[in-house]
């Protein structure tokens, strides 16, 4: 697999390897388990960003066979809990694990191992979170503002300031990874696209790259350029949505209307360019299903981005808006590194990381994208990063248009494994695929960016914020619950 190193170690060496990689400065990216040849094989994915390569550490795992990885690498906590929920592998010691994808009251079913008791209707919620003393838990969600995803937030507060916050994403866990087991890759692509619809292009491209890497093929040159165009169009409209939501949460309704006008125009650009408002159906195995309508993009995109730029500049001059974003939901650089954040959230906390530049796949070498980084770490810094990325994305789209075209390459049906990645609007998205003999999907591991970034939402909310700041932080993070819950 080009661009990826694979290392196989024994479970006993796991602790020293993780510690060693930590000192070496490798960035933890993913940890997942796969039921293979009678046991469970764990794979840790590390981003060696300066060497432009990923390192996949494979090791057989036994229940309670290794010390908690999250003690050495705090970033790995969410994946460690998910590892237990999906394949039943627990670290040694008695440190409690949190429920990530399954509701707290559902008994463990280890779906990836083929288990799967019908999770009965929840009787009683025993959250990991009992609140004692004089603070109390303010229940917020899962049914929230009209048009926002189902997400439960347990706000522990002393009246106004948020002391602690924990999130339940499991209302939206559809078990896509378990559902993909045994499917044909084409049918898998249809489901992968609908796992996190707002990052459909990025997730499907990562999945297609993984299968292409497994098959050892490269997409044709025009298809690579089309992929860049689609990816950047998706980035532009997502960032426009984040600006619109920020205005909604700070209460600037005219600003929200202006941003929504720009957003609608961008969605109509997507429709004109690829025949789908949210760019579904662009990526295909071995290439792209259709090329972009170049003249439609050249005619409509600049006008739409202009609309967005004017709205954003007006917003950045509105003190009431900017004051609300300054020092709101601050994620310090150190926390961002400790939790292994990716995407605009990380770039706004002074972490210079972008999969397009650090791990370029064909087409990105020439594109040489420029990465915007800010060090404020608050909602304003995140907005500035997103605004800068919209400008850069427009440049990339218009630059790649001439070379963009349709076309796919046939992929040999056969066993193999591959790691694919893409820079979604929310950050680095990984997809790991292993195919069995008949070329069907034995195991698919999807790790959209929200899986890494929702962790920082708790820290940001705990940094001396009050109730009304929570929606603003959520809008400035702009992570999807569907991307986390899969």
């Amino acid at each position: 697999m080009d661009g990826t190193l694979v290392a196989r170690i024994a479970e006993t060496e796991l602790e020293s390897v993780v510690a060693g990689l930590g000192e070496h400065g490798a960035r933890f990216a993913d940890l997942f388990g796969t039921p293979e040849d009678g046991g469970v094989t764990g794979r840790l994915v590390y981003g060696l960003d300066d060497e432009q390569r990923y390192l996949v550490v494979e090791t057989p795992l036994a229940d309670r066979g290794h010390p908690p990885i999250s003690d050495l690498e705090p970033a790995a906590f969410v994946e460690e809990c998910e590892l237990f929920e999906q394949v039943g592998i627990r670290p040694s010691g008695d440190r409690p694990l949190n429920r990530i994808l399954m509701p707290p009251h559902a008994e463990h079913a280890f779906p990836l191992l083929g288990g799967g008791s019908r999770s009965a209707v929840p009787r009683e919620l025993h959250a990991p979170h009992h609140v004692r003393g004089e603070a109390f838990e303010f229940p917020f969600g899962p049914v929230r503002v009209a048009g926002w995803e189902s997400l439960y937030m347990g706000l522990v507060t002393t009246g106004e300031e948020v002391l602690d916050l924990y999130l339940f994403h499991w209302h939206k866990h559809r078990g896509v990874e378990r559902r993909l087991q045994g499917l044909q890759p084409e049918r898998g692509l249809f489901l992968v696209e609908r796992t996190d619809g707002l990052s459909a292009v990025a997730l499907s491209l990562a999945y297609c790259r993984a299968i292409e890497v497994a098959g050892g093929v490269e997409p044709p040159r025009p298809a690579a350029s089309t992929r860049i165009v689609a990816l950047e169009l998706e980035r532009i409209y997502n960032h426009a949505q984040s600006v619109a939501l920020l205005c909604q949460t700070t209460g600037l309704s005219v600003g929200q209307a202006q941003a929504e006008i720009a957003l609608e125009q961008l969605l109509r650009v997507n429709l004109a360019a690829f025949g789908h408002r949210y760019l579904f159906g662009v990526a295909a195995l071995g290439g792209v299903r259709r090329g972009p309508e170049a003249d439609a993009i050249r005619r409509l995109l600049p006008a739409a981005v202009d609309e967005l730029r004017r709205a954003v500049q007006a917003l950045l001059r509105t003190n009431s808006h900017v004051d609300r974003l300054e020092a709101c939901g601050t994620v310090p650089g150190e926390t961002a590194r400790r939790l292994g954040l990716v995407g605009p959230v990380a770039r706004a906390s002074a972490i210079d990381l972008d999969a397009r530049r650090d791990h370029p796949w064909p087409g990105w070498h020439e594109a040489a994208p420029e990465v915007a980084v800010r060090d404020g770490g608050d909602a304003l810094a995140r907005m500035e990063v997103m605004v800068a990325e919209v400008e850069e994305a427009q440049r990339l789209v218009l630059e790649q248009l001439p070379a963009a075209g349709a076309g796919t390459v046939d992929i040999p049906r056969g066993p193999g494994t591959g790691l694919g990645w893409a820079e979604s609007p929310r950050g680095e998205t990984l997809a790991y695929v292993s195919l069995d003999e008949g070329g069907r999907l034995a195991r698919v591991r999807l790790r959209p960016a929200p899986v890494r970034n929702w962790r920082a939402f708790d820290d940001a909310a705990r940094a001396r914020n009050v109730f009304t700041d929570i929606p603003i932080i959520e809008a400035s993070f702009w992570q999807t619950v569907a991307g986390f819950a899969r």
């Binding site: 979170h129 609140v131 003393g133 002393t158």
Partner: protein
């Protein structure tokens, strides 16, 4: 008519003494019932007697001579004291009705009930004492019996310490009171209160000031003025419900009586700065009292701090009255005295009610911590309604009595412009403004004190399983009725108090109660007017109209009861509601400089991996007065004790030497 009143008082006192004796038999049910009945009847008689004296106290002080035990034990039926006697009687009556269902027969009750009855008796004697010595003896015995009352649950932790604190500060106050009386007695040459009152004008200014200040701080200890208040929030939770009701409903009032006695009778017509000092301390007590009350989670400690606040309000009114009188505005001065006395009566009624209700809540759920109560209105419906009446009363909301008395006090204080010098006028209005702030915070405090325990969902199993069976309702119910009666029938009550004010200050105050119109005007017709009775009737009509509209237009369709909307979570638990501290969070944040809170937070998510788990948050207000006033004083006294210790060397010869030295010194002083 006065003789009838005197007879009633004597009968009442006798019944209390009988109750005290019978109390010792309170090991079984019958003994307990009889004692309670006797003290209740005694209370009724004393209340009637007090009212009669107040009504017919035609300005003159009636001295009824009695046997000459130690000198002549003269009693005095003074209208000013009559108001307090009436309150004493009412409180005793309510407690008498409350005791049977609250206390179990047994050894504890056998010592407690007599102590309580004797405390009533001692208070009565204090109020009708005609002679300084009788006053002081009765005052000391009242303090001692109250100490015994607080010690009821002496086995519980902290009760001993709280009772000792009450006694210690009580003695400190007593010392000052004795000094004040000593000064007046030596200067006027008589021990008889009426005599002192008559000749106090001739006493030199220096001595009069000293006597007043000593009396103010001496009685201030008992009344709970701010710097001297720290025993109050400790003693009330320690005492049983009826004990703390007696403490707050009556004992604090005796402190106020003392100050009013000195300010308006013994040393009438003092300089303006007396009034300003009293008003200043009163306003300070009011504001700090309610601020600290808002931070309390324990129901009784909250009510204790709220008592400090109300005493602050009363003393502000008294102080204002003294200032106005000193500047010649005697009509407003008398009016403010009337308003203060009316607030004394009101507070005596609804504070006792609230303490009795706090007792019921503790009796039913076993806890006073507001954060473990909730939803009691469903479990204790009658008690909830009664305590709602008390809460509306103390929060000074129309049409209840608290509103009328606070309205009177405000109208009095806001007429500060009638005083010549602007500075004094401004100071009075500032005091009024601080009372306004207190009023606002009091409404928030009592919305919290009623809302958190009674409304919402139960926050603990104890609250969920509370039951009203066997809980005392008669006592608090009676007080609730009196609350409403005093509120709606305010003009009647004011006519009685008008007589008292005239008897005390000697002015026919202009607050002609326009009985045909049932309206009240604050001493001057051109300032404000208001009729509590019509207001109550108007409020009832206003409330009835929307009710009728709702009943008429109610959809007839099938009714479907659905749980409250909670965002769709699985189980909305009691712990997901606002707690007492978080409800008062805006005040805590605004007055952070005053509270200087320390808080302790443990949360699982501080773990670097961000593991979500249990959170524990504790919050503590810095007790400023204990830390920065009393502790240094105590340390200074202990240091002094160490310094003096060498004198007590245990060597007899040295002691003889000391005796010789003292004799020599005394001889030298005597000869010069």
């Amino acid at each position: 008519m006065i003789h009838a009143a005197a007879v009633l008082l004597v009968v009442g006192g006798g019944l209390w003494l009988g109750a005290a004796l019978l109390g010792t038999l309170a090991r079984e049910r019958a003994g307990l019932l009889v004692t309670a009945g006797a003290s209740a009847l005694g209370g009724a008689a004393v209340a009637a007697g007090g009212t009669l004296v107040a009504v017919h106290g035609s300005g003159a002080v009636h001295t009824v001579g009695a046997g000459n035990l130690v000198g002549t034990v003269t009693l005095r039926l003074d209208p000013l004291a009559a108001v307090f006697v009436a309150v004493l009687g009412l409180v005793a009556l309510a407690l008498g009705l409350y005791v049977p269902r609250y206390h179990e027969p047994g050894a504890g009750s056998a010592y407690y009930l007599p102590a309580l009855a004797l405390a009533f008796f001692a208070s009565l004697v204090v109020l009708v004492a005609g002679n300084a010595v009788v006053f002081l003896v009765a005052w000391e015995s009242m303090t001692l019996f109250s100490y015994l009352v607080v010690l009821r649950h002496h086995r519980r932790p902290g009760v001993g310490r709280a009772a000792f604190l009450f006694l210690a500060l009580g003695e400190a106050g007593f010392a000052l009171i004795v000094a004040a009386f000593a000064i007046l007695a030596t200067q006027t040459g008589t021990l008889d209160l009426a005599g002192i009152a008559a000749r106090s004008g001739a006493v030199s200014a220096g001595w009069r000031d000293a006597a007043f200040v000593l009396a103010l701080f001496g009685f201030g200890f008992k009344a709970g003025l701010v710097p001297l208040h720290i025993w109050l929030p400790e003693a009330h939770p320690a005492a049983p419900a009826d004990g703390s009701a007696f403490l707050s409903g009556l004992v604090l009032k005796l402190g106020v009586f003392g100050i009013a006695l000195f300010g308006f009778e013994l040393e009438r017509g003092g300089p303006a700065w007396w009034g300003l000092l009293t008003m200043g301390l009163g306003a300070l007590s009011a504001v700090l009292g309610i601020l600290y009350a808002l931070m309390e989670r324990d129901l009784k400690r909250f009510l204790a701090y709220s008592s400090i606040e109300n005493i602050g309000v009363i003393l502000t009114a008294l102080g204002g009255g003294m200032v106005f009188s000193a500047y010649g505005q005697r009509a407003i001065g008398a009016f403010l005295l009337l308003a203060a006395l009316y607030h004394v009566v009101n507070h005596g009624v609804y504070k006792t009610l609230l303490f009795l209700e706090a007792g019921v809540v503790e009796h039913a759920t076993g806890t006073r911590d507001m954060d473990r109560l909730g939803g009691l209105i469903h479990r204790l419906p009658a008690s909830s309604v009664i305590s709602l009446v008390g809460t509306l009363g103390i929060a000074a909301l129309p049409p209840f009595n608290g509103f009328v008395s606070e309205w009177l006090i405000f109208q009095g204080l806001f007429q500060g412009f009638r005083i010549g010098s602007n500075l004094i006028g401004i100071l009075i209005v500032v005091a009024g403004a601080s009372l306004a702030l207190t009023g606002g915070l009091a409404i928030m405090g009592f919305a919290r004190a009623f809302g958190i325990p009674f409304l919402g969902m139960p926050r603990s199993r104890a609250a969920a399983e509370a039951s009203e069976r066997g809980q005392p309702l008669a006592g608090p119910g009676l007080l609730a009725a009196v609350c409403v009666a005093l509120g709606v029938g305010a003009p009647l009550a004011l006519t009685v108090l008008d007589r008292v004010a005239r008897a005390t200050s000697g002015i026919e105050i202009h607050s002609r109660l326009l009985l045909p119109q049932l309206t009240v005007i604050p001493a001057h017709t051109d300032f404000a007017a208001f009729s509590p009775t019509y207001l109550a009737v108007f409020l009832l009509c206003v409330a009835a109209v929307p009710l009728l509209i709702y009943l008429a237009g109610r959809p007839r369709g099938a009714r479907r009861v659905v749980p409250v909307w909670d965002g769709g979570i699985l189980d909305f638990r009691g712990t997901m509601q606002y707690t007492a501290t978080t409800y008062a969070n805006p005040t805590r944040v605004t007055f952070e400089a005053l509270y200087r809170p320390e808080f302790h937070l443990e949360r699982a998510s501080d773990d670097p991996a961000g593991r979500s788990g249990p959170v524990h948050y504790r919050f503590q207000v810095l007790p400023i007065f204990e830390r920065f006033l009393y502790r240094p004083v105590v340390r200074a006294v202990e240091w002094l004790a160490d310094v003096v210790r060498p004198i007590q060397s245990g060597d007899v010869n040295l002691y003889l030497l000391y005796v010789l030295l003292v004799v020599i010194v005394a001889y030298l002083i005597y000869t010069y």
